[in-house]
């Protein structure tokens, strides 16, 4: 029997438990052990950003972390962004109204990375180069990024209006 370690952590506000071999990545643990398959794997070497989740409010690449490292931490995944009643977050709304997703595979990573950015107050959101640099940690092959840029501005504006 393989060496499995129990892991308890909070995900999207809920305390969850599972077990994983020490070598299991956090991404695989979220997806395969906890069934949270909204976190996607695009490269498994930390470049594409599709697997981005928040750990204690900071974005991390879940493909570059072991599940055991998340023990006792607080995680947010894409499944935790909508309100409990299912209504979309301002960012999710903005992504849809601005057509900021096509195939949608990279979208969870973008949503998480931008959620962190919006929580910081979206510094430099009106400056094209600053905003694009901030988004450059996530790869998208479909949208050419333009509508993502627009959606992030729109979300920042929505949040400014009704914080």
């Amino acid at each position: 029997m393989a060496d499995r370690r129990p892991i308890t952590l909070r995900v999207n506000g809920q305390e969850l438990s599972g077990s994983a071999e020490p070598r299991m990545t956090l991404a695989d643990f979220l997806r395969d052990e906890l069934g949270l398959t909204g976190t996607h794997l695009g490269c498994e070497h930390g470049v594409c950003g599709a697997c981005t989740v928040l750990m204690d409010g900071r974005s991390v690449r879940s493909c570059l972390m072991f599940a055991v490292q998340a023990e006792g931490h607080e995680l947010t995944t894409v499944e935790g962004l909508a309100a409990p009643d299912g209504s979309l977050s301002p960012l999710q709304e903005a992504f849809s109204t601005n057509h900021a997703l096509q195939c949608g595979f990279c979208t969870p990573g973008f949503l998480i990375a931008v959620t962190e950015y919006l929580a910081e107050g979206a510094p430099g959101v009106d400056d094209e180069a600053t905003l694009r640099a901030r988004l450059s940690g996530n790869l998208c092959r479909c949208t050419g990024y333009q509508n993502i840029v627009t959606a992030v501005r729109d979300a920042a504006e929505r949040m400014r209006r009704s914080p």
Binding site: C48, S96, R141
Partner: protein, 807 residues
């Protein structure tokens, strides 16, 4: 209009009612796909929860060319969690050969007119005696989890005896070069010649000629989701359900059935949510995983990793053109000769798809009466190339637009002026190009206004103002430049696509089609088309695409084809279903169908709206059984199946203008602004069209500046990760302004649709290369190869400086 109609415009099919005018079509509706994708509830192959699932991993060749002297699998088979190890020997006599060339049938008409030379080289599912590229599948391991399957890969001992690799397609043609497939005689897998007009005469008469060697390097498709296959057997019935991240579910089914010897309806292939595709086609793993599941009687899944993807999931482009051009003193291009090689890699499963696309699109928007092209697909020890977004077009648009620029430079004219002088004029439309398309039908361009398109793009860009800025910038030591490129694109390639449109007893509409979207938003646009014909809202329509159980025949989503082919199929099927709905309603209301209107989910008497019956009531009246109330002789059921067979492709077009700044000291290129104007006929949803253009442009920017699959002299892959293969990020893509010409709906289908999926990716390499040349005009830099990164450009700048000092 007094213009002649397009010769291929259909006269109207018997039994096809006229389509209703657009209502939802053309609106910027939010996408139906978004909700699940935004909340993490989409279902990709890797997301499926399948009880008892086993996991496969594939061992791949580390050598470009080697003999396999032996494979030792015992240690792997004995490893923890391993259920089965298979090599080519285990498939012998049980899995048929993977033959695609024979299948991507050359149209008999094209065969007759062009007579290409085609050689067959079926690909083994797993390499048997030899490996022919780095990344070729050699063995597969099935284990209880993916970690253990990958552990066991390291325990397989393959005794490779390296052979001399063929890494250069030009050397592959030299006498004495190693021959990849000895049974083919040499390394040329396909070739053809297309001749239009009197090329030799035109060259003999020409005032001027020039020649150039122009190269587009090798790139890769890079869908963000890697490939994946999950196969679930029903051992008792010997049936399989296969989920496959492949844009052609019906073709996957055909391959599985033929290679494993199973009846079509015993295999159901479902295309789940898919994270992009951009081309790439069929793969041995599509069948291998099905075989393993059937063999083991247990569900098996394989999810490709990015390293496998970059080495094996099919590359693209990689063409070398040797061009000669004849022109006059005014810059009129009179004739072209182009001999080009495609480095096809180790197998060429797509025959002449890409090479012929290149021939058919070389002249693009230009009126050039005389042309001869000779195309050769050459085999080398690299991953096979396939059609990828643009599929042979970006390469020749780069060639043509560089030629226009070279002619202008030679004559001291503004490249835009030379371009304008050569464009096909609107009054010449529909314009015959003097050669067949890939379907064998003689090319006749759809009505369009290319000069108007160019003018609109230049105006959006602010061309004159940019030229003034450029002069000022030059004085200040800054190098900025502008580049233009234009293309046409045969879109909506056949042979067909179909639709089943059905109304359920609640009045809800379901559409099934063999097209398989992976980002194209067909759930939304097909619902828009259907809603208009059935007088419901898009919310009342559910589109189910890419499930072989829901429609008997299907082709898939690629080649900018689905809006045209599936869109027309859905629209016509829905229009026919409307006729049936009206007939049943007439029976219920006892009013003649011609006095009835179908709208807002109900049929009402014209002028007496209180006499109405809902779609739900009509659907119930059409249900077979004693309560059915149908006109005499009418079949029960509110369902129509329709397969649309396009007469040929419909031609979309576009013009791109880009402004760049070049840092002479580093060779770094910054894109300042990017403008496109496209003609894709009637837009189903302009927001979605613009999104397609944005994404295509970003893809093309990658092809122009960043992305290259690099092999060394031993055909060893050097770009196996995203640290080596650079995709454009948000910082690398400038804001893109998208304009449209909407005044030329296609005459070839009743909805006026032309395709738009690939166009955006076609022009950026050409436009950007021309803009860089323009920025460096004083240095007389010639870009003959893309992608052009900082290192390459810096070298060109240094050479140009040295030349000018020497001169």
């Amino acid at each position: 209009m007094s213009d002649p109609a397009h010769p291929y415009a259909p006269a109207g099919e018997p039994g096809s009612p006229p389509v209703r005018p657009a209502n939802y079509v053309g609106q910027r509706l939010r996408r139906k796909e978004d909700a699940r994708l935004l909340t993490g509830r989409a279902t990709h192959v890797a997301d499926l929860r399948i009880p008892g699932l086993l996991h496969a991993a594939v061992l791949r060749s580390p050598f470009a060319h080697a003999r396999i002297a032996g494979i030792e699998t015992e240690a792997a088979a004995a490893a923890a969690g391993v259920v089965r190890v298979v090599t080519a020997r285990d498939l012998e006599g049980r899995v048929g050969p993977f033959v695609e060339a024979a299948r991507s049938e050359i149209s008999p008409l094209l065969n007759e007119k062009i007579g290409p030379t085609l050689k067959s080289c079926p690909m083994p599912v797993l390499a048997a005696d030899r490996v022919l590229w780095v990344g070729q599948p050699v063995a597969a391991i099935v284990a209880t989890d993916r970690y253990r399957a990958e552990d066991a890969l390291e325990l397989v001992q393959v005794d490779y005896e390296p052979l001399p690799p063929v890494s250069d397609p030009e050397r592959a043609l030299e006498p004495g070069a190693p021959v990849l497939h000895p049974e083919l005689g040499d390394n040329v897998q396909t070739s053809f010649v297309v001749s239009v007009g009197d090329v030799d005469g035109a060259f003999a008469r020409a005032e001027r000629t020039l020649s150039a060697r122009l190269v587009m390097g090798r790139t890769a498709a890079n869908a963000m989701e890697t490939r994946g296959v999950a196969a679930v057997p029903d051992a008792g019935r010997d049936e399989l359900t296969v989920w496959d991240a492949n844009a052609r579910p019906h073709l996957v089914r055909t391959f599985i059935c033929e290679m494993l010897g199973m009846p079509a309806d015993s295999v159901r292939v479902i295309g789940p949510d898919m994270g992009g595709s951009f081309g790439t086609g069929m793969f041995p793993e599509d069948v291998l995983i099905a075989f393993l599941a059937r063999e083991l009687g247990r569900p098996v899944r394989w999810i490709e990793d990015r390293r496998e993807n970059l080495s094996n999931t099919r590359h693209a482009r990689d063409q070398i053109h040797q061009v000669e051009v004849a022109f006059d003193g005014d810059g009129r291009i009179l004739a072209l000769k182009d001999r080009y090689l495609i480095d096809a890699g180790a197998y060429n499963n797509y025959a002449i798809t890409v090479s012929y696309n290149s021939a058919a699109h070389l002249r693009g928007q230009f009126a050039i009466d005389h042309m001869r092209v000779e195309a050769l697909s050459v085999l080398t020890n690299k991953a096979p190339v396939t059609p990828v977004r643009g599929a042979g077009r970006p390469e020749v648009v780069f060639v043509m637009d560089r030629i226009v620029d070279l002619v202008a430079t030679e004559l001291g004219l503004d490249p835009v002026e030379v371009r304008r002088r050569n464009l096909i004029r609107p009054e010449q439309m529909p314009y015959p190009m003097g050669m067949p398309y890939r379907d064998g039908v003689d090319i006749v361009y759809d009505r369009a206004d290319f000069p108007g398109q160019l003018n609109r793009a230049l105006q959006m860009f602010g061309y004159e103002e940019f030229r003034r800025e450029q002069a000022a910038a030059r004085d200040a030591g800054r190098r900025i430049g502008v580049g233009v490129s234009s293309y046409v694109e045969g879109s909506g390639y056949g042979p067909y696509e179909g639709a089943v449109v059905r109304i359920d007893p609640r009045g809800h509409v379901t559409v099934a089609t063999g097209a398989k979207p992976h980002g194209q938003s067909l759930e939304t646009t097909l619902a828009q088309i259907c809603a208009d014909q059935l007088g419901v809202t898009p919310d009342d329509v559910t589109v189910r695409a890419g499930d072989t159980a829901l429609i008997a025949h299907g082709i898939g989503t690629f080649a900018s084809r689905s809006a045209v082919t599936a869109g027309t199929a859905v629209g016509v099927a829905a229009a026919r279903l409307r006729e049936k709905v009206l007939a049943v309603a007439a029976e219920l209301l006892e009013i003649h169908p011609s006095d009835l209107d179908l709208d807002h989910g109900a049929v009402a008497a014209r002028g007496a709206p209180d006499r109405r019956v809902s779609l739900a009531d009509i659907a119930r009246a059409a249900t077979p059984g004693p309560r059915a109330k149908l006109p005499p002789g009418m079949e029960p059921g509110l369902e129509v199946v329709y397969y649309y067979v396009p007469p040929t492709v419909t031609f979309a077009s576009g013009t791109h203008v880009v402004g760049v700044e070049v840092d002479e000291e580093t060779g770094f290129v910054r894109l300042l602004k990017y403008v496109t104007t496209d003609d894709c006929g009637r837009m189903l949803n302009p927001t979605i069209v613009e999104g397609q253009v944005h994404g295509g442009v970003a893809h093309g920017i990658g092809n122009a500046l960043f992305e290259e699959v690099v092999y060394d002299g031993d055909a060893q892959l050097l770009t196996g990760t995203y640290l080596d293969y650079l995709l454009p990020t948000a910082s690398d893509v400038p804001p893109i302004a998208v304009g449209h010409q909407e005044e030329f709906p296609s005459e070839l289908n009743p909805f006026g649709i032309k395709g738009v999926g690939e166009g955006g990716a076609v022009s950026p390499p050409a436009a950007i290369a021309n803009a860089i040349v323009d920025a460096l005009r004083p240095l007389r830099v010639h870009i003959d190869r893309v992608p052009i990164g900082p290192e390459g450009l810096y070298r060109l700048i240094r050479e140009a400086r040295a030349a000018s000092r020497a001169g």
